[in-house]
């Protein structure tokens, strides 16, 4: 088991290297010349050349890539072209709201979607099942920003129960934090809930047909124990996989959600950086998101062994 963990962690290194290479080449692939942007409209070609040299853009690709990776490993992601602040500082300032939003959405979605899927599978064909499946279709088809604006309109503007937008730091208290994040989390969680509920239902339907479920019934086990212990543990591997894959959805959705609810997070930072062609920031944020995604999938691989003893490494 320990050897497996070590091997699995080591295997993430080449993945991250490829991600880094891709992120770094963004600068070349993307249209527009950052040096020209910085220099402004009035600049002469000499000015642009000077700025390019000062940014190091005139040196060979691999040299710059090596230098860039080396700096990142030392915790230096470069300096923003626009604000002149170190990228790491900018990310540090913005990371809490995004992380809060994603974790809250994850917890909310899993704790709603899994029981929903389980009950739908148990009551297959009933109105509960149909309601869950209907909700899933709705969750898939309505975009985050529509849900976001509708929720904000109803609960913030009309009912005045929750703030319309903004973010309160966690250290200022759990409830103020939650008040600001609950609507964004619900808006962001819609697709995620739909995805997890559907896969839970499908997997549970299959598991509930198995002989060992009949055995559990014959032993006198209650319905709750049959569903949530005997069946759900067997259904866990596909469900956990989808939860992991869905993190990518959350990252993408967070960018939109933060714009709708004016949350000063990494999503907004990314959008702003893209609009300003602030490459060091774009690279930093994309690299961070990729790293989180790789890390989550590593965690999920390790979780498999916890749910299914047949998975051995």
């Amino acid at each position: 088991m320990f050897a497996y963990v070590v091997r699995r962690v080591l295997a993430t290194i080449p993945v991250m290297a490829i991600v880094a290479l891709f992120v770094f080449s963004l600068l070349y692939i993307a249209p527009g010349d950052p040096a020209a942007v910085i220099a402004g409209d009035q600049a002469t070609p000499q000015d642009v050349e000077r700025i390019r040299a000062s940014l190091g853009l005139d040196r060979p690709f691999l040299v710059r890539f090596g230098e860039w990776v080396w700096n990142i490993l030392r915790g230096d992601m470069g300096v923003s072209i626009f604000t002149n602040l170190p990228v790491t500082t900018m990310i540090q300032q913005r990371i809490e709201p995004t992380l809060s939003l994603m974790i809250l959405t994850l917890c909310l979605a899993v704790s709603i979607a899994v029981p929903m899927g389980v009950v739908a599978a148990w009551k297959q064909g009933s109105w509960i099942d149909r309601a869950v499946m209907g909700f899933a279709v709705l969750g898939f088809s309505v975009p985050v920003f529509v849900v976001g604006y509708v929720l904000a309109y109803i609960f913030a503007l009309e009912l005045d129960w929750l703030p319309v937008q903004g973010y309160t730091k966690f250290e200022e208290g759990f409830f103020p934090w939650l008040e600001n994040l609950i609507l964004p989390a619900i808006a962001l969680g819609g697709v995620y809930i739909a995805l997890i509920a559907r896969i839970t239902r499908a997997t549970m339907l299959e598991v509930l047909q198995q002989d060992y479920i009949r055995t559990a019934r014959a032993k006198g086990a209650g319905q709750t124990s049959i569903l949530f212990l005997h069946a759900l543990k067997n259904a866990a591997v596909p469900i956990v996989t989808v939860i992991g894959i869905g993190i990518a959805l959350l990252i993408g959705g967070a960018v939109v959600t933060e714009s709708v609810f004016a949350i000063p997070g990494l999503g907004r930072l990314t959008v702003d950086a893209i609009l300003r062609r602030d490459y060091p920031v774009i690279q930093g944020v994309v690299l961070l998101f990729s790293f989180v995604y790789v890390l989550v999938n590593l965690l999920i691989d390790l979780l498999y062994t916890l749910f299914d003893p047949r998975i051995r490494y």
Binding site: D211, Y212, T215, A218, K219, G220, A221, H230, R310
Partner: protein, 332 residues
């Protein structure tokens, strides 16, 4: 005389299907005395498994529907609430299934699965249940029970898993054990071991057994009384020796005739195995006459029109056949 442990009367288990009602079990009655082993035999699809599942009410309702009465220790199981039924399952009546490879939960360890019934029905703590599980594993002849109790089903062989199933079934000292084809999926040598084990445990635990099987060899080995089922109906019932010596129903005779005899090729008496021509009729139409008429070598027009009643042929021996009634025993 006190009432038997289990009395099944006019059991009817029907399934609603898109193309009509499937009468999987249609009016079956039998009883099991305390400590007795009763075998239910018949071909695949004759309703023997559905009968056993109906006793524990493990048939999903709907589409299933169980009618009649199943009295266990004087209580009609069909009238109990679901929680009352749960307190009987795995406690007073427990069950062993045909497929040891798939009947154990792959993601829970053996100790937990044996301990589950103990925790449910006897209120043991997790630690007590595991200690008792180790004891049960020792009882069913699993070596190194202390280590095995922490293992998972995939780490055990088929025979071992069936031993674990037996350990689960016997953990709460049930009064009745229903074994649905407990040896069918196992190697012959393992079959013998499991049968031996069941016989031993029956002596020590004193549970009555309902053995569902299509293997007459197994029946001869362990049963005291035999119920023969065909197309959802009981066609014959007799003490085991009597059934093997003087089968009254043509179907029973067919079953016995289709049994291979060991060594017959060596003694030069090798004959072709008798087979029963045709298939079990569809259970979706009501058959007015004898259910076996379409495959019976002795069937007459009368058999097709009028269903034979179960008639006593000898003490403890009943059969449902006009022919057997008129002519006495049919020469096998």
């Amino acid at each position: 005389m006190a009432e038997p442990l289990l009395v099944v009367e006019n059991l009817q288990t029907h399934f609603r299907t898109p193309d009509g009602i499937n009468r999987a079990v249609d009016g079956v009655s039998f009883h099991v005395n305390a400590g007795e082993t009763v075998a239910i035999v018949g071909e695949s699809g004759c309703g023997k498994s559905v009968t056993s599942m109906s006793i524990l009410r493990l048939i999903p309702e709907p589409p299933g529907k169980i009618a009649g009465s199943i009295r266990f220790q004087g209580r009609d199981l069909l009238k109990l609430s679901e929680p009352e039924m749960r307190s009987i399952r795995g406690n007073d009546i427990s069950m062993i299934f045909q497929e040891p490879m798939t009947s154990l939960n792959p993601v829970l360890n053996i100790g937990r699965q044996i301990g589950e019934t103990l925790r449910l029905h006897q209120g043991l703590s997790a630690r007590e249940a595991e200690a008792k599980a180790v004891e049960m594993l020792k009882l069913v002849g699993i070596p190194e029970p202390g280590r095995r109790v922490r293992e998972y089903p995939h780490q055990l062989s088929g025979g071992m898993r069936q031993r674990v199933m037996i350990a689960i079934a016997l953990a709460c000292n049930p009064k009745l054990l229903i074994a649905d084809e407990p040896t069918t999926a196992l190697d012959v040598t393992i079959q013998a071991q499991i049968l031996e084990l069941m016989r031993d445990l029956k002596r020590t635990v004193g549970a009555a057994i309902v053995l569902i099987t299509h293997d007459l060899g197994v029946v001869a080995e362990v049963a005291e009384r035999v119920v023969v089922m065909y197309a959802g109906k009981k066609v014959e019932e007799a003490p085991v020796v009597e059934l093997f010596n003087t089968p009254r129903h043509p179907y029973t005779q067919g079953l016995l005739g289709s049994m291979p005899k060991l060594g017959s090729s060596l003694t030069g008496t090798e004959t072709r195995l008798a087979e029963i021509p045709g298939l079990v009729p569809s259970l979706k139409q009501k058959i007015p006459g004898c259910v076996f008429a379409s495959r019976c070598p002795h069937a007459t027009d009368f058999c097709v029109k009028v269903a034979p009643a179960l008639e006593p042929k000898a003490p403890g021996h009943v059969a449902a056949c006009h022919y057997a009634l008129k002519e006495g025993a049919i020469a096998a």
